[in-house]
């Protein structure tokens, strides 16, 4: 399937720049907050006042793409947590008001499928509408869903994307569980920190996918996922995915890895890099946008920018030869692993 248009709201200025800026934003501390655009003109103030951050970002990235299309046959979102901040506010209200009458807004905004529903309502789209919530593999499942719809001839054009937001409550809980670093780091030294934990990120990346296209930015060739694998199983999955698409490791010229600076879980990337891909150009993205369950969607955005020649920023030095095949390998907490094979 083909990516013909894309938008992202992320901790980088991707929305306004239409790619990554020449000098990406350097973040410090353990939260990489999204750079939200001015939503005036995009979202009516009467609706915006009620939207949580995840809905705002998802609508902000997704609605312009829908508006540029004549027909959208499906809206497919991957989001592990949805509007996490509003969800936790709602849960706290249940306790605070002793299970009495609750204000509906936080509940309306907090469900993971609120974004896909809002996109459909705002664009008056009544087609297939679904949200995948498989935590660290939610975006991969959204893409697989899109591929299946295309294969079955049920869609020609699909909006697919992700959204995830930082919640202060959840950040504190995850920090106690060791997910995030206790010491401060910066974008520049995150990946070489050598300490446990990573940094928390957020964002929404949206894509217009088509079954057939002459004019396109990049092609998504295949998607694969696995949970609780051994190292041999990950290497096997990569080899099987390449073989299925008549490729060998040496045919991959660029690798995008989800290295997060967590000394406990970056070993997976080191193994894949060392055992299968020693000659390839390697790109990382969590030093730009932080870690979140569907961060592989931003890697897909990055890969599409690389393949289509969009601006990709100072730290990402282009390889000397043109890019033909990109493999994205990412995992979430070392548990859920995903592969996305992209091509020109």
């Amino acid at each position: 399937m083909y990516i013909t248009d894309l938008r992202a709201i992320s901790p980088q200025a991707t929305f306004d720049a239409g790619g990554l800026q020449d000098h990406p934003t350097s973040h410090s501390g353990n939260k990489y907050n999204a750079q939200e655009p001015d939503y005036a003109g995009l979202i009516a103030p009467i609706l915006l006042r009620r939207m949580g951050k995840s809905i705002r970002m998802g609508i902000g990235a997704g609605l312009p793409l829908i508006q540029n299309q004549r027909n959208i046959d499906a809206i497919i979102i991957g989001s592990s947590e949805g509007g996490l901040e509003d969800c936790i506010k709602f849960l706290n209200q249940i306790v605070l008001y002793k299970e009495g009458t609750l204000t509906p807004t936080n509940f309306v905004q907090s469900t993971p499928n609120a974004l896909a529903g809002s996109l459909a309502l705002m664009s008056r789209n009544t087609c297939y509408n679904i949200t995948h919530v498989h935590k660290g593999n939610a975006f991969e499942n959204a893409l697989i869903d899109a591929m299946l719809l295309f294969e079955e001839g049920k869609a020609d054009t699909i909006l697919a994307g992700n959204v995830e937001e930082i919640s202060d409550y959840n950040f504190n809980i995850e920090t106690l569980a060791g997910q995030f670093k206790v010491e401060d780091s910066t974008s520049e030294n995150l990946l070489e920190s050598g300490t446990p934990g990573t940094v928390c990120g957020e964002g929404a990346s949206m894509f217009i996918l088509k079954d057939k296209a002459d004019d396109y930015l990049a092609r998504i060739v295949d998607v694969a996922q696995i949970s609780y694998p051994t190292e041999e199983e990950i290497l096997g999955l990569i080899m099987d995915t390449l073989k299925k698409n008549n490729l060998r490791p040496e045919d991959i010229d660029t690798l995008i890895l989800g290295k997060s600076g967590d000394s406990h879980t970056d070993v997976w990337y080191t193994a894949v890099n060392r055992k299968l891909f020693q000659e390839q150009s390697i790109f990382t993205f969590k030093d730009l946008v932080g870690e979140y369950p569907t961060s592989i969607a931003f890697a897909t955005y990055l890969a599409a920018c690389l393949i289509s020649g969009r601006n990709i920023g100072w730290k990402l030095i282009l390889p000397p030869k043109p890019i033909k095949h990109i493999l994205i390998y990412n995992h979430y907490k070392g548990v859920q692993h995903g592969l996305i094979l992209m091509s020109i």
Binding site: I46, R49, R50, Y97, G100, T101, L102, T103, P104, T105, V108
Partner: protein
């Protein structure tokens, strides 16, 4: 609490509950319609927020939707309803 003080408090609370934080209390007229294009432009979700506000702030629980329609006409009508409910308790 006299009615003027109640109306001022209600305006502050409505701004918070329906999340129109760019409004100031003096921008909301006492008799300005809360719903519809000629007034504040609130909608059905806001009506639920106002019901929750009455329950939490004034310990008044609305059970009849038809009754709510008459009460939530303006800040003035809400204030009058609160005063009459509290005086009959």
């Amino acid at each position: 609490m006299d009615k003027a003080e109640l109306i001022l408090n209600l305006k502050k609370q409505i701004i918070q509950y329906v999340n129109i934080l760019d409004y100031k209390p003096d921008q909301i007229g006492d008799d300005l319609p809360l719903f519809g294009p000629d007034g504040l432009g609130l909608d059905s979700i806001d009506a639920l927020e106002l019901s929750v506000m009455l329950e939490r702030e004034y310990d008044i629980k609305l059970t009849n939707p038809a009754e709510a329609r008459k009460i939530f006409v303006s800040v003035n009508s809400i204030a009058e309803y609160i005063i009459s409910t509290k005086s009959s308790e």
